[in-house]
Amino acid sequence: MMRSQNEIVSMATKAARGAGHLSSLAEDMGRATLWLCENGFDGVGALIEEIRSNNGPVEYQTGEDGITLSGGSAACLAVCAMDGLAAGISQSAILKNTENPLMLLGVCAIMSLDLQTGVKLGDWAKLGHGELVALSENPPTSDCTFRLLTKTKPVMIESDIRQIDIADHRWSVLETLAARTYVPATAESRTKGAGAGLTDND
């Protein structure tokens, strides 16, 4: 079924929250999902894989080669890596978790837009200001080294917004996860909600 951007971001964010991810990270995952979908990738598939993955704490070490990040989900590692590079902690960041490269790509894309920078993901992908600059056929299978690119030109995004077709069975998975954030309404809530307690035929 065709879905609006807002529906995709909202549902993906809620699904990530429902799966136990932190609110702030869930918002990034929601935006990354939309970016992937808009760029022709299986964003919802990447999200589903992501929310089933390790959601533990991030471990990081700073060494001569830069920051090394392990543990945590791909999205969380990508966020930490991009933050660390943008803050100048080091020139490169090595990610030990590359099990979900699409989510790495999506999160890096939205963060490269937020940070107004370019980023190189190993030999696999280059992103600039939220736009995909280059992508090879082979995603990383082991460690992936991130580097910020200083010479990427800002791209004026002329978005021709159109709705995106998401398979119903995929959407159902997100709905099920999102439902974990919902609370059944109580009698108290019903008696206090808008329109309650009045004759509606007045």
């Binding site: 702030s24 940070l115 954030t181 059944p184 329109g195 509606d200």
Partner: protein, 556 residues
């Protein structure tokens, strides 16, 4: 009011501090102003002299069927597609849990074909259960106020106008119970129209929808009366028609919006406060216009009657305060008259103070109307990971000391929790210690999160935000909010949103005042009825001077 101001003529006083303005009690006392979104829309429509057409009107004698209204605006055509359906009285409810309504609507981007109308007829009456396309910009529904609708039909069919008391006391023929926008249920995302200059101000598609629904409600009642008595039925008198706006029941769904859009909230407030500061600094006043507006406000307050005990008390106090404040006109002869009035108003209650703000703005359109272009916001700023933790600590000291005042070890300070209901996916407010679901709390507990962040920052005084968040990723959202707050002072409501003292109605009134709603009629501390477009120009009244409808009064 024909004054024009060169840029270098515009002075301003200091803005009111955010610690004073951004309190629930104060924002819960706001009134609509000429910067409200409905007013902006009407001014622009009037400026363009937009012409409304009704290319489709297919209604049976009882007023059931469909209609299309089209208006050219800003180089685009927008069409309201309306469906009126029979509804058994037992199914009529304003609750969000309703599944059927008297009327349903979409605002269509362009002129719909028969196929578009048919497709929407299949879906719009189902509302949330329907599916839409990006040709639809909003989705809405409304119920009749049966009492006044039926009475008006009978009166018009009998050659009479409806009873004035009823028109004054109710003030609308239909109540909307939801106006959805921005991608809900498959309709167009806001990004589709945001770049259109005439649609760049907030909620313009929604405001246009409601204004067109008002026209539909007028046409519908006249149609049914005419069908009932084709020879003798009369049309609504202009003054009555103009006083019939659109009612609305607004609940908690609106409240989290203000928390979830901090920069947008800041921009609304910043414009309002900048406008006030400009007006306070001016030496100009038009005593005649001002006195007319003071009188109108006085009459409006007399027509503002509600059942809610607390709001009634506030209205009575306001009437008294307003009377004393305007007992004489000495303030008009001061060097800076509006500053003098503003200072005098501070001796009275918050309702009186904020009504004074709205009056000051209303009387000075040429000085402030241009600010309405600054009320939107683009992308919300994202986290700056380069900042140091000591800078975040300083931001908390300088801009968020209010958040450190609550004692979250007390159950009274954590008495409530916000959540999303499973039934209708709408925001709700629960009692943390008596209702289930607090573990699924929505993150609207901003003050508590700031305290938690401040606590964890103690151990990390000299590191970057990036490194701090690798260890404490749970603080990412709050850190970003604080960075925003340092740049946008009105971005946060400076109260504890989960305290037992938090009254969501204050947030609703704030947001609704920015819409331009009036006659706030609270039915509890978490929902209110209001009227929209009461007194607003009709579609055939758009032109110069059309926008003079602040705080309308029914003048038979």
């Amino acid at each position: 009011m024909t004054a024009h101001y060169a840029h270098d003529e515009i002075q301003r006083t200091d803005l009111r501090p955010a610690d004073e303005v951004m309190r629930l009690e104060r924002i819960g006392s706001f009134f609509p102003t000429r910067l409200s979104f409905m007013r902006t829309l009407i001014r622009r429509l009037a400026h363009e002299r937009s012409h409304l057409k009704r290319p489709v009107w297919e209604m049976d004698a009882d007023g059931y069927g469909r209609a299309v209204y089209s208006i050219d605006y800003g180089g685009h055509t927008y069409s309201l597609i309306a469906f009126s359906t029979r509804l058994d009285p037992e199914n009529r409810t304003d609750r969000v849990i309703a599944e059927a309504w008297d009327a349903s609507f979409v605002l269509f981007d362009g002129l719909p074909t028969r196929e578009d109308i048919h497709r929407n007829q299949e879906n719009a009456p189902k509302q949330e259960a329907g599916r839409f396309t990006d040709r639809e910009l909003t989705l809405s529904r409304a119920n009749k106020s049966v009492r006044i609708f039926d009475h008006t039909v009978d009166a018009l069919a009998g050659g009479r106008q409806p009873r004035q008391k009823m028109v004054r006391d109710i003030g609308y023929l239909m109540r909307t119970t939801a106006v959805y926008g921005n991608g809900k249920f498959g309709i167009a995302d806001r990004t589709k129209t945001q770049h259109r200059k005439h649609m760049s101000a907030p909620f313009q598609a929604e405001m246009l929808t409601v204004w067109l629904i008002r026209t539909f409600s007028h046409d519908l009642v006249e149609h049914v009366a005419k069908m009932k008595n084709p020879t003798d039925a009369v049309r609504l008198a202009k003054n009555i028609k103009r006083h019939l706006g659109i009612g609305n029941s607004t609940g908690l769904g609106m409240a989290p919006f203000l928390v979830n859009h901090p920069v947008l909230l800041n921009n609304w407030m910043m414009v309002r406060e900048t406008a006030l500061a400009r007006v306070r600094a001016t030496k100009k006043i038009d005593p005649h216009v001002t006195q007319k507006l003071v009188q109108r406000a006085t009459s409006h307050l007399l027509e503002w009657n509600v059942q809610d005990h607390l709001q009634t008390k506030r209205i009575l106090q306001l009437r008294e305060d307003w009377g004393v404040l305007h007992k004489d006109r000495n303030w008009m002869s001061k060097a800076k008259p509006w500053d003098a009035l503003f200072a005098a108003s501070r001796l009275f209650g918050l309702e009186c103070q904020e009504l004074t703000v709205a009056l000051a703005l209303e009387a000075n359109g040429p000085l402030i109307d241009g600010l309405a272009d600054c009320m939107d916001c683009g992308l919300e700023p994202q986290l700056n990971p380069s900042m140091s933790t000591s800078e975040i600590t300083q931001i908390i000291k300088d801009h968020a000391a209010w958040a450190l005042k609550s004692d979250f070890t007390k159950t009274t300070e954590t008495a409530k929790f916000w959540y999303v209901s499973a039934e209708k996916l709408e925001p709700r407010l629960g009692d943390r210690y008596n209702e289930p679901g607090a573990e699924k709390e929505s993150p609207l507990d901003v003050a508590r999160q700031i305290q938690n962040l401040a606590h964890d920052l103690h151990g990390h005084p000299k590191t970057s935000v990036a490194e701090f968040l690798m260890t404490y990723p749970q603080h990412r959202r709050t850190t970003r909010r604080l960075q925003i707050l340092a740049r946008f002072p009105y971005a946060e409501i400076r109260d504890n949103m989960i305290s037992d003292k938090c009254k969501p109605i204050d947030m609703l009134r704030c947001k609704l005042s920015f819409f331009g709603a009036s006659k706030f009629d609270p039915k509890s501390d978490r929902w209110t009825r209001i009227t929209l477009y009461q007194g607003a120009p009709l579609h055939d009244e758009l032109g110069e001077g059309a926008d003079d409808w602040w705080l309308p009064c029914f003048a038979p």
